[in-house]
């Protein structure tokens, strides 16, 4: 995969409609061998990028979901202590060195996502999801790994990367990331898609969605995003809504304003937002869309 068009096509084939800028970012990612940092609101499809990328490369996707308190033993590697203990007891009386060699071997090593990612024959896509949820300390550790791509395990020695994985990091912006990490990565801000792209996304993802209905849905969602909402609906919500409308056999939004209003629960996820959207508001927005 070299050119941007090919990348966009390959992503499209795996169900992700990328804009030109994202395609550039991914081609750069391969050219410069830098990780890609995706930022954006929840629900704009950041994680999907990594999934589609893995499919386009026809390689494995290794995912590390970050959370508060995530540490090395959950992210990198850990010894399988239970098995080690069993082994010690089973080989009771054996020479101490032999036991040691036995229990600190590959067989007793539990591979966690980061270690797994650098030991694959074919370079996988490593998705480090919601890096902003992890602690500062973990971020610093990650930075080191991302620059050297090697891990030292005291009992085994240094494990160098067999292949350099394609690294995608995502962040929701719940915490400010360190400048060092930002500098290390290519940056792409994933925005809500425009009407045209959202239409194509609906068409790609929802079977049986007609082009005209998809366009109407995309426009309607665009209008809804302009309203002052507590939780702005993302692409995932749009797809839910489209699936609901298609499932209810709606051909044109203007045919069934009540159904449209009722199915808005797919998009509006808080009580306040729901209360704001009276049938009149829905009617007004429908008027703009038609």
């Amino acid at each position: 995969m070299k050119g941007r068009e090919e990348i966009a096509q390959a992503l499209a084939a795996s169900g992700y409609i990328a804009d030109a800028e994202l395609a550039t970012a991914i081609s750069l990612m391969q050219l410069l061998r830098r990780p890609l940092l995706l930022e954006g609101e929840a629900g704009v499809g950041k994680t999907e990028v990594a999934k589609a990328l893995a499919q386009a490369h026809s390689t494995e996707l290794i995912r590390l979901q970050c959370y508060e308190g995530l540490d090395q033993s959950a992210a990198l590697y850990e010894w399988n202590y239970q098995r080690q203990l069993l082994a010690i007891q089973a080989h009771h009386g054996e020479d101490a060195d032999a036991v040691e060699d036995r229990i600190f071997s590959e067989k007793y090593l539990l591979e966690r996502p980061l270690l797994a990612a650098i030991r694959r024959e074919q370079a996988p896509v490593l998705l480090i999801d919601e890096i902003d949820r992890a602690d500062d300390e973990f971020e610093a550790f990650l930075l080191e790994l991302l620059s050297d791509f090697q891990v030292s395990i005291p009992e085994l020695g240094t494990v160098s990367a067999v292949t350099i994985p394609h690294v995608v990091l995502t962040s929701n912006g719940t915490r400010e990331l360190s400048d060092a990490l930002r500098r290390r990565c290519l940056y792409h801000y994933v925005d809500y898609p425009d009407v045209d792209r959202e239409t194509r996304i609906i068409l790609a993802r929802i079977a049986n969605a007609s082009p005209s209905l998809s366009l109407q849905i995309a426009r309607m969602v665009q209008e809804i995003r302009k309203e002052d909402l507590r939780k702005v609906p993302g692409v995932a919500e749009t797809l839910d809504w489209a699936a609901a409308l298609v499932g209810l056999d709606i051909r044109d939004l203007n045919d069934a304003p009540e159904t449209v209003h009722e199915t808005l629960i797919c998009l509006l996820k808080t009580h306040e937002d729901r209360a704001r959207f009276t049938p009149e508001v829905t009617q007004r927005l429908l008027g703009k869309v038609a």
Binding site: E39, Q89, L186
Partner: protein, 402 residues
């Protein structure tokens, strides 16, 4: 590079590449001046990209550079304009840094801030006007520490607005900075002392006890890591606040400098994010930068709208489960009081505590009559006066409990 000197066109090519790399270096400098954080590695990669053939297609190059050089959303949005201005010669609307210093002088609100806040530079100008004061500080310190201590004691009880003598103002600022420092160290110490493991970590216990043959003799507990308290300060810098903002700014500067996690915002009719500017070590330069950001002050205070902006754009990023929002304002709302109430409710849902400091509260005969403060009060956890250093100090035990 000199290895291929036999090539006839070499000097020419060399000349061109020197021009290009010179231009690229200038572009990187422009970006750095505009707040981009760019290291050597990025410069090298950029050169590699240009050599790769990206240079022939400006649109593609722009997009490629944008990904490479941007590190945050604000960079991302700013980049295209800067690129076009530099490479394509289009005019760009604002070059933040260079224009800033010129505008700073014209901003009315900031002038008042600056007048109230004797920075090294500002105090120098006062000494110019009053020649005799030049040697006064020396003489003071010569008088001995005892007097200084009692002076500070007095200062603690004087209402900030009654501080007239520039020297006194300077001391108040010093004390405010000192106070911020002391508060911070105490808070963190308490934080540490409270930590204690409360759950058994089974995996680690087995690991630890391998050398006992697996008999769990020493137990490993899991400790919950306490998040340090994050302080978010929203400071009202409108005209009705008079002299107060200047002392608070100094306090906030101290807090931001010393707290591991703190953010500051300034509002009058708009909301401005000022943490970056306030992180400048030197208080004088911090204020200079601040003046740039708080342009367009003047009529009234729109607390409700400012909070709305905060809730909508900043809250998700700056507020976490151990956050305390501190609003410093007199509560004179010129906008819609109902909006203020709504936004306060929204804010209360997000953060752990809201402290509202009202310098006017200690005035004789003051009652929270203003519509704004009436709407806001139901959502406030602590409503306290903050007109003297002593009252600021009284906050510390409260913050430590959070």
């Amino acid at each position: 590079m000199s290895c291929c000197g036999t090539n006839p066109g070499f000097e020419e090519i060399d000349e061109v590449s020197r021009l290009v790399s010179g231009r690229l270096a200038a572009f990187l400098r422009t970006l750095r001046d505009n707040g981009f954080r760019i290291g050597l590695a990025e410069g090298r990669d950029a050169a590699a990209l240009m050599a790769e053939g990206y240079a022939a297609r400006p649109g593609l190059l722009r997009s490629a550079f944008k990904h490479l050089f941007s590190a945050r959303k604000s960079d991302w949005e700013k980049f295209d304009g800067l690129f076009d201005a530099f490479w394509l010669g289009k005019r760009v609307r604002s070059r933040s840094r260079t224009m800033a210093s010129g505008q700073a002088a014209n901003s009315p609100s900031l002038k008042t801030l600056q007048n109230g806040m004797p920075e090294p530079s500002a105090s120098r100008s006062t000494t110019d006007q009053v020649p005799s004061s030049d040697d006064v500080p020396e003489g003071r310190s010569g008088e001995g520490r005892m007097e200084g201590a009692s002076r500070a004691e007095n200062l603690a009880e004087i209402d900030f607005r009654k501080l007239a003598d520039p020297d006194q103002v300077a001391q108040a600022h010093e004390a405010a900075a000192q106070l911020a420092k002391v508060m911070r160290t105490r808070l963190t110490r308490r934080d540490l002392a409270r930590r204690r493991g409360y759950r058994l970590d089974l995996r680690r216990t087995i690991h630890r006890n391998i050398n006992h043959g697996g008999v769990p003799i020493s137990l490993v507990k899991r400790q919950r890591k306490d998040k340090p308290l994050r302080l978010i300060v929203l400071l009202d810098a409108s005209g009705s606040m008079g002299m107060y903002p200047s002392v608070f700014l100094r306090f906030i500067h101290g807090v931001l400098d010393e707290f591991r996690e703190a953010e500051a915002f300034l509002f009058h009719t708009r909301l401005a994010y000022v943490s970056d500017a306030m992180k400048e070590k030197d208080a004088g330069r911090a204020l200079d930068r601040l003046s740039i950001m708080a342009q367009g002050a003047g009529g009234g205070t729109r607390i409700g709208e400012s909070l709305q902006t905060f809730n909508r754009w900043h809250a998700a990023r700056v507020i976490h489960s151990r956050s305390c929002v501190m609003i410093v304002s007199d509560g004179y709302e010129t906008g819609d009081a109902a909006l203020l109430g709504r936004e306060m409710a929204g804010l209360a849902r997000r953060c752990r505590r809201i402290v509202w400091l009202n310098p006017m509260m200690a005035w004789e005969g003051y009652a929270p009559e203003a519509a704004g403060i009436k709407a806001a009060l139901p959502h406030v956890d602590l409503y306290a006066p903050a007109n003297t250093l002593q009252s600021l100090r009284a906050l510390e035990p409260y913050l430590a409990k959070l």
